[in-house]
Structures are given as structure tokens and as C-alpha cells.
Assembly symmetry: D3
């Protein structure tokens, strides 16, 4: 089974980290292919960048020359999953939803710890649209930007752990979701400090994608995610270059 | 005052109709500039096309060489308004939200009549995210595609009026919103047949944009719609071609 | 176009302030007529007074000898808008709803800052009934009574600004609505201190009423707001005097 | 114990029927005093009439010369209960809420069968504000006006029973609330035809009022229903005459 | 009239206290029979114990040799009321729901003060399922276990009063529900300290059960609570031992 | 890895079918152990039987002599999962929640097709408590009892397929969940007839349990599902025999 894991940022080192995280969670026999979008922001932290990433991820997946069995969109709180579901016949799993779905099997309420304050509303809205908000205790920001997480791991651990601990104590969360692709690898340390299970969205998404493939299930084409109707698309996709 | 009204489709005749509709609702002294996006689908009827339109509208507005006082996104149920709000300092009005907000001043519950069944979920989700769903009685599809509306006006009137009448009788709507930019001009006939007020989203959006400008109000930059952070955007925007 | 702006209090100086505020927001050619109800409390701060104001406003409007094109009910969180909509064929706009609707075009969440703690529930319930509560971050009380606002403007500015700032920081509001007719004029100072757009309900209501009139739209008579059935009303209205 | 049961209509025969219904449900030792408001509509079927009744009921109760232990507002879906709670130190029970609260002890979902279609929204909104809407399966109109119920009892039984039966079968109600003061006495026949328990709001309210008095409980004065502040009320109440 | 009041714990002294509390609230002519379940935990403080209590209460009631007119399940936040409703033809009242229903007649929002933090989710979920959560301001834990309440009454009063006061001030509750059968008797002292009405669930349940019996109303057998279908039950109930 | 799959009925042939269904979905290296509860109803179709099953499943799992890595509760809409989560340190997966969670990755809305009308409320309430109700289009009953499904497979296929088709067309479901352990094996035929993906809860639960084990995640012990406190349990568990 081959699963595409698509970064939403154009920063290759994040793609590498995501790919490694996904491979670590994959079953024997699953091949993980980590992709960087062909265009877009080096880090996605807001609506404009998220919409741009949405379309970049779609075009990157459409242009992929090899067959694949499932796609994981590896951005937390990003737009676009619905478009991928229309374009593809294989299952599509968004890591925001994968983490929340998984968390709900582990405790009564979960919190998400993410990067900047401005990304909190994006995550909240994606959870709301996905019908996964009822058991979300809070979405908390560590205050660190995506690229800062990469640069100073100890600061990242400290800031994230503090917010996770407050989520458990003040917001009554019982499970923590790490709300950023770039946070891969911190799960163990946050779990140690809070005593709560910590869900990494990428790892969760890999197991869900594998499960759907194994069960022979894929996106319903009955209405919302039916294939786009044939029509003229003007000046798109952009010429490579 | 100059207001940009941006079509989400790349079909120029729809842009023309939208521009005319907007101009008809504008106050004296308001200049309406109707724009066609530089890339995208000839008609937007689904998630992929809607995401593509979202980013196309943003780039088209960003590339506009003249100053302007407000922007109207003239697509019903489309993505992207949040991104425009980040990029711009002037007010941004989405016609889906403009129509619903206006309808709520006219009756207790409103329904939206749109084009194809597959666009119903997009409109429902946009209303949900906008917090405007509580008084939405239903979103109903006429079964006609965007371009069919243009081609056979009598069929459009018939199909839309039938759904509007059922919304009033079966779903207990008291106001009808015409859920497609291309439906401009049908309002009067639907109102006659149903006895309910009919809101055209473009006209509603023009009055709201004008009002915000006159009141000196614009998008809050406090958190969600703060300006994007300075960062590297790779391979974007595409070269004109 | 002539718009009636009806105070809910029987204090003439508040009517004057409301009228001035409305006139400042009106377009050229719009005549603002500010009315004081014929009976009721000098200031409305609770359910009994609010219900009394509801019926006083209705009778005052019904007794108005001149024709008019729209009515604004200028009380924050007060009852009665639904009754006016039944009685009249012209649009009716409540300032609580006008402010919230306008705020929703400006930011993701809004807060209302009002007078006394006991009026908070009234505002919350009116927003809930109007379907405008989903994006309300909080309703906060300044602790000042309506008539105190008039008497000591500096204290009013201070108390209101403090609550507005806490709404932005603690409740994650991005827009502030001034929740009292008597707060007209403070908007600018609150905006300066919080960095968030501040919506004055009276100004917002004027632009909405004007817009509805210009669009040729008025209250649906299909069900909820149909004209009252002809029937005997006993001992009402009270004799003047 | 003395309980005031206040009609919302000014039709004396309805007051008599309500009083009789209440007395039938009262415990030995409870005195029922049925009151007709001093002003207002002969029957309440809409927002204007309901707001007028709200204030008429309050004034009627305030003017009552004898002491009493509780008040029942005997109008279905009417405004005003909150004002009575402010004015009085004894418990106040609204029959809409009494019926719904009682129904919730009897089955998973309940429906209300009321008079005219235009009163449906009033009942829905009162249940929503009272936090009693989550288990409401539907509010259905029999199509008969309040005074018609009085005039042709067989037609009333037939129309109400038909809607009650549809509520059980189509809306999955398990309990029926009779949604009009004037429907007192029909409960048995509706129960026979539908097999579901039928709650009469007046009888339910009597038992709840008695219970609150016996438990020594009354309206909280902590915030929302605190006594009105002392202030000048202009031209009110109207002179008798 | 005979009402069974069933403890959920197997501690006899709690049954005695519950019985006394119920008898104090009962009308003349009502006989209270307090029962201790035949098996289960000495105190119920979590899901396993609550599920065990649910079935123990059902078997205890089924095995009761005398006729009775109503049943009260005297556990706060416990499972099982739905099963009793299926098995019996007489009304069943759960004290969690009785307290909340009663509180809603007394103020706009209520809070529950319970024992341990781990029982908070159970109460929240029971209120949610019962459709009584919309006006619940908070469920707060005193930190004292059920049996500790019995042992040190002064500590119980102090801990509970502190949480009740915080519920009123911080959570905007206007009524307090005592969320544990074993708290019977503390109501007066909590009311004194907070100024808010305090509802004891057992007393409230007694008046509701009496009211339902007097009104001739019992559980709907239309669907959810229809009698169990005849079928083979294996190895159950357990032999007395 | 060893997974216990626990039937809620005491009918061995259903246990066998469930075990076979689970084994078919398991990865190589996963051992499925299907258990029949030691007491309870031959088929569970209502609240009393469901509560009895809840405690029977818990005792059966507690008495299991071998170690295991995860537990699946194989009853649709049944109580008890929370108790298992308290008692165990390994992950617990309920098939109702597993099916809904999986369905949400496949389409925008899902419906459940179950057995008898009386089980519909149980499923609805379990989905509500699990926070999985927002995208549930409907829960529909085929009208066939659990044991009838076993006896006449063709009738089962016909009845279930008809409800599934109506769910897709009338309720706008895009995915179907088979809402009964005994329906295992019908998925393919329902999918063929409706064109929608069909989720079997047992298969879905197996993949989720495997995933949680592989990710090293288990139930949070932070609050709700903490181990029961040590205390005296009277007369329980029942003596074998």
C-alpha cells in the first residue's frame, strides 16, 4: 500500500520530518511518500496561506505520477480536504480530523495545542465543520511559529507542555492533540509531563488511512464529493517554472 | 466610493450580469468595478472549483491596479472570504452572508434556493461557519447548473420558483435568498409567486459594503484576520500566461 | 426617506442623543425622527421595564401621525421588535440585532459591553432568539446604570473601555458592540484603546434601515409577522393624560 | 395556599374554564383565583397581542388586593413571565414551561399541539429561551383559532387529535402537550386516540406551583430577576376607566 | 400513595437519610419507602459503580413485594432511569432531573455542586441526555467523597458552600442544586451563605412524583419506554446469596 | 495482539458471527477472541436489556483469564463503554462509535440502519453522548428484530436496503452504518444497491483497536475514566451457577 503524505508548507525539512513520522507509524508493507507542494508559503499560519496551500496540495497530488492508495493532508487546521475528496477515488485523511477522532476514543474531552494564536480560529472552524467540536475542550496556542518549532526544540517542548498542562487542569481536557505537523516527535515528552495520552495527527492519520484501505472503503461519491463536472478551467494549472 | 465586485467564475457574461446587478443597487456616487478572476473554472459548482476560485479571487484583487474602498465576493457558498479579509484593509463582504444577514431582518426563517444539489453542502457549511445557520430553514437545489441558468431563463424561473414555494410551505421559510450570482434579476418573479420577500445577495452585499465604508468600519486586525506574517512564498503567484 | 428612531426610555435627553447619533449616520435625504415613548420607565434596566417599553414603543409608533419608511427600536436587549413587525408594513430594525449583524462582517467574534449586570441576560436572550449568538464572545457589564452614563462621561468611558479590553483579551472578541443607546459617541475612544472596530447599534441600524428601503424589501407577512387578526381589544390603548 | 391563575385573554369565559381546570388539579387546601387581565385582546394569537398581554398580566397581578402564594401565567407561548418574576417574591409558573417540564418526565420527546399556525413560532421561541427545546419533537397547529375552540368542541377535538396523532407517528413524539389555555378538558380524548400521555399545561402548572410553595422555594433574586430598581415610571399604569 | 425511594449505594445509613429527607417533603397521605439495593458499591462514584447501581436498582424495584405508585431513583448523575421506565407502569423520577427541572422554575441558570471531580462528567452527560443542559451554568465538585460527607458535616458544609458561592459569582448561576443524595439537609445553610435558592433533588423528586400520580400521568409506552419484549434472560437475576 | 470482542447478547450464534466478522477484518498477527456474556438477554433491544448487558459485558471481561490488548464492545447503541474504560488499562472501542467515526472520513453525513424502532433512541443518545451526532443524518429502523435477522437473511437484506436507500435519498446520507452486530455480512449488498460506502461497526472497531495498540495509546486516566476507587462492593459479582 502506498500513502501520499502531503505537507502544506513548502519547507522541505518539514516534509522530511513529516515523512519520517508517518513512516514510523506505518505497518510493514506500507510505503510512505512525503510530498512538498509545488508552490505556497514556507509555513502556513493564516487563512490566505491556508487557502493557497489547499490548492497547492490538490495540484501536487493530481500531478503525482505514481499510483497511490490514500492521501494524508498533513496540515493542522488547513482548508482543502473536501477538494481532494472530490478529485480522488482513494481515501483522504486530514490530520486535524484524524487526531480528534482518535482522541475521542481515549478520553471524554480533548484539547489541541497549536502554534500561533492566529491559527486557533482555523482549527476551531475545521473541527466545527467536521462535526468534531463537541468534545473539544479548547484549542490553545503555544505562541511559537511553525519555523521556530524547528529551530529551538527545547523552547518548543516547554511552551507546548505548559499549554497542554493548562488544558488538562483548567479546560478539563483528558487527551492532548499536537496541533501542528512540525510538532511530530514531542508527543512522548508532553505525555510524561501531563499524564494524559498525546495524539500525533500524522501517526493517527496513517493508521486511519491504512484501515480504510484495508476495509475497502473510500470517499462516498453520492453527493458532496462527487467528481467535479467536466468543464473548462481557464489558465490553470500554472506552467511549471 | 469604489467597490470591487469579484465574480468567482471565469465566464465574462456572468461578470457582466453581476456588475449590472450591483450597479443597480449602488447609491449615487458609488462606482462598481466588476472583475473576472484570472484563472479558474467557467462555473463553480463544487469544492475543488470553489477552492480554486478562492485563491483566484484573492490574486485578482491583489493585482488590481486601482485603489478601492470595499470588496464583494460574488459567489454563493464559496470559500475564501477569510483570506481576503487578511490581505485587505478595506471591508470584505461575501454575498452568501450578506443575503442571510439581510433576510434575518425580514422574517423569522429564510431559505436559500441554489443551483445543483452538490452545492447545497457548500452553502450549508459557509452559513454554519458564519454563525448564520440557526434561522436557515433549508437550502434547496433547483437542479439547474450555473450556465443553464444563463441559457434558458424561463426554465430557471420555473425551477427556482417551485423550490422557493416549497421552502415557504414545507420548510416554513418566510424569506427567500437567491443562492447564485447568476440568478440576479429573478427576484421579482419569485417574490410574486411566493408572497415572500426575496433577497438578492449581490444587491444586499452592495448596501452592506457601502454602509461599512460610510460608518468608517473595516475588518478587525486583532487576531483572525491580521495581516499575513512576512514570509517566503514559493512559485507564486503564477506568471501571467 | 423618513426613519423613526424610537427611544425605549422616557428620558428626553436620551432621545435627543439617539436622534443626533442617528442623524450623523444617515445619508443625505434621510430624515430622522426621534421619538420618546408616551409612557414607561425613565431608563430601562430589566424585564418589567423592558416589557413595558415594548408595548409603549408599539403604541407610540402606531400613534405617529406622519408617514414613515422604516422604524428603529433604539433599546439594547429590549423586547418588542416582533410586535412592531406585525403591526407595520415598513421594515423594523432593532439596534441589538443591527449591531451584531454588522459586527459579524468585521471580525470572527464580537462582544457586547452594556450597562448593569442585570441587563446581560436580556441581551443574551435577544441574541439567542435572533440567531445571532453563535459568534458572540461575551456580553459584559460596565456596572454603570443608563442614567449614570449620561451624568459622568469620563467614568463611562473608563468603565466601558476596561470591559471592552477584557473582552478582546480574555473572551477573544475581535469586534465590540456598544450595548446601550446611551453609549452613543463613545465608539471612537473605545476603538482607540482596544484596537478593535467598535459598532454603535444606532448608526448600524440607520444604515440597515436605509438599505432595506432602498432595496424595496420589508417584513415578510407570510406567517410569524402577519398582520394581527381583527379582534376586540379591551380598554386599550389608555386614554391620553 | 392561594394561587393566582391569570388568563392572557380578556374573554371571561376562558378565564372561567381555566379556573375550573386549575381547581380540578389543585390539592385540598389550595385556593385558585382566576383573573382576567384589565386590558388586552379577547384572544391572544400573535406577537403584538402577546406583548400587550404580558404587561396586562403584570399590572393585573400587581393590582390584586389580596395576598397570594404563587402565580400561574395561563397563556401558551406568551411573553412576560420574566417580568412577573422580577416584580414578585412568590413563585411564577408559565404553563408553556410547566407542560414541557412535566412532559419530559413522561417520555423522550414531546410535541405541542396549538391553535393557529402563526402561534407556532411564539411557542418555539419561548421553549428555546426556557432551555426546554432539546426534547421538543414539534409544535403543530390545529388551524383553529382560540375562540373557535370554545365554540365548536367536536371540531376542536378532531383537529387537535389529528395533529397529535401525526406528532406521535411522524415526529416521533411520545407525549403530547395541549398548547392553549382554551384546550383544557380535551386531554382525555386525545390520550385515548393517540395512546400517548397528554399534559394539560394548567394542571401541570398548578402542581408545580404548589410544589414550589411547599418546598419553600421561590424565584432567585440574585441577578436576572432581582426587583426592579426604584425609578420614575411615566404615565403608567393607565387610569382605570 | 406509596413512593419507593431507591438509594443507589448499598450503605444503609444513606438510605435512612434519603428516606427521612423524602418523608419531610411528602404530602400527608404519602408513604415513603426507602430501599437499599441488594448489591453494589457502598458509594457510587464513577461509571462502573453507576452501571452496577443501575441494574441493582432495577432488580430491587422489580423484587419489591408491595404495590407502589411511583419510583424515585435517588442517585445524582447515575445511569438507569430509562430501564426503570421500561419495566414499570408507574412514573419514575430521577433526582438529577428533578432538581434541574425545579431549578429552572426559580432562576435563569443553575449550577450543581457534587462530590468528587470524577462524578462531574456523569452529571453533565445525564443532564445532556435529559435535555436539561442548556441552562446549566456549571457542575462543580466539592472534592469530598460520598462517605466523607456523612462523616464530617462541617467540612461538607464548608466545601459545598464555597463551590456554591463560586458558581453564583463566577459561573453566573442563580440557583444551586445539591448534587448528591447524601447532601440532604445542607440546603438551608448553603442558601443562607449564597443568597440563592437551593434545590434538594430528593425533595424535588418527591413533589414531582406526587404531582404525576395526582395528575394521573405515567411514562409513555409509545416507543422508547415500551415494555421489554418477552424473551429469554440467561442466568439472571442472581440467586440471593 | 489479542483483542476481545464481546457480544452483548447471550446468543452464541451471534457471538460466532461477530467473531468471524472481526477475524475477517483483523491484521495478520491479531488474535480475535469472541466472548458471550455470562448473563443477560438472548437479544438486546431496549434500555433494561442494554443496562443488563453493560454490566454483564464488564463482568465477563473482568473474569477473562487471559491477558489481552484491547476490548471491543460489539453492541449497537448499548450502554457500558464508559465503565469498561474505567476498569481496564487497555483501549476500549464501542462499535457504534467506531462506525460513526469511520463513516465521517468517507462522506459528509451518515445514517445508521438498525433493527427495531425502539432501539433508535438508544443509538441516537449514544451518538449524542459521544459527540458524534452532528453529522448523523438519521437513525432508521428496518423493523426486524435481532433474532429475525439471523433467521431470514433475504428479508433482512431487503428491509435494510430499503431503509438505506431512503436514508441516502430523503435524509441526504452519503454513508451507511449497519447498526446491529447481527448485520455483519450485509455490507456488500447494501453498498451495491445504494451506491454509498457501507461501514460495518465490528470491522471498523477492529481496525481502530489495532491502531490504538500500535500507536501505544490507551484510555486517559486523568479524570472521567480513572480506575474505580477502592471500596466495598456488596453481593457482587454473583456466584457462578
Amino acid at each position: 500500500m502506498r500513502i501520499l503524505v502531503v505537507n502544506v508548507n513548502t519547507t522541505q525539512s518539514i516534509t522530511d520530518a513529516i515523512g519520517k513520522q508517518a513512516a514510523g507509524a506505518a505497518s510493514p508493507g506500507t510505503e510512505i511518500v512525503a510530498l512538498t507542494p509545488a508552490f505556497g508559503a514556507e509555513s502556513v499560519e493564516g487563512n490566505y496561506e491556508s487557502y493557497l496551500a489547499a490548492i497547492a496540495v490538490m495540484e501536487t497530488v493530481r500531478a503525482h505520477p505514481e499510483p497511490f492508495d490514500a492521501v494524508i493532508q498533513a496540515g493542522y487546521g488547513e482548508h482543502g480536504r473536501e477538494g481532494l475528496q472530490e478529485l480522488l477515488d482513494v481515501p483522504v485523511v486530514d490530520i486535524t480530523e484524524a487526531a480528534a477522532s482518535t482522541a475521542q476514543f481515549l478520553g471524554r474531552r480533548y484539547s489541541v495545542v497549536t502554534t500561533l494564536d492566529r491559527t486557533v480560529p482555523l482549527i476551531e472552524e475545521r473541527l466545527q465543520v467536521a462535526g468534531l467540536g463537541a468534545r473539544c475542550a479548547s484549542v490553545r496556542a503555544s505562541g511559537l511559529a511553525v519555523l521556530e518549532l524547528e529551530r529551538d526544540e527545547q523552547a518548543a517542548v516547554d511552551a507546548i507542555t505548559e499549554q497542554a498542562a493548562r488544558a488538562v487542569e483548567e479546560d478539563r481536557a483528558e487527551v492532548i492533540c499536537l496541533g501542528c505537523g512540525g510538532m511530530a516527535g514531542l508527543a512522548e515528552r508532553v505525555a510524561e509531563r501531563t499524564g494524559a495520552p498525546v495524539v500525533d495527527g500524522i501517526a493517527a492519520a496513517v493508521t486511519i488511512a491504512e484501515s480504510l484501505v484495508r476495509l475497502g472503503l473510500s470517499t462516498s461519491k453520492v453527493r458532496t464529493y462527487a467528481r467535479p463536472r467536466p468543464k473548462q478551467i481557464v489558465n490553470w494549472p500554472p506552467k511549471a517554472g
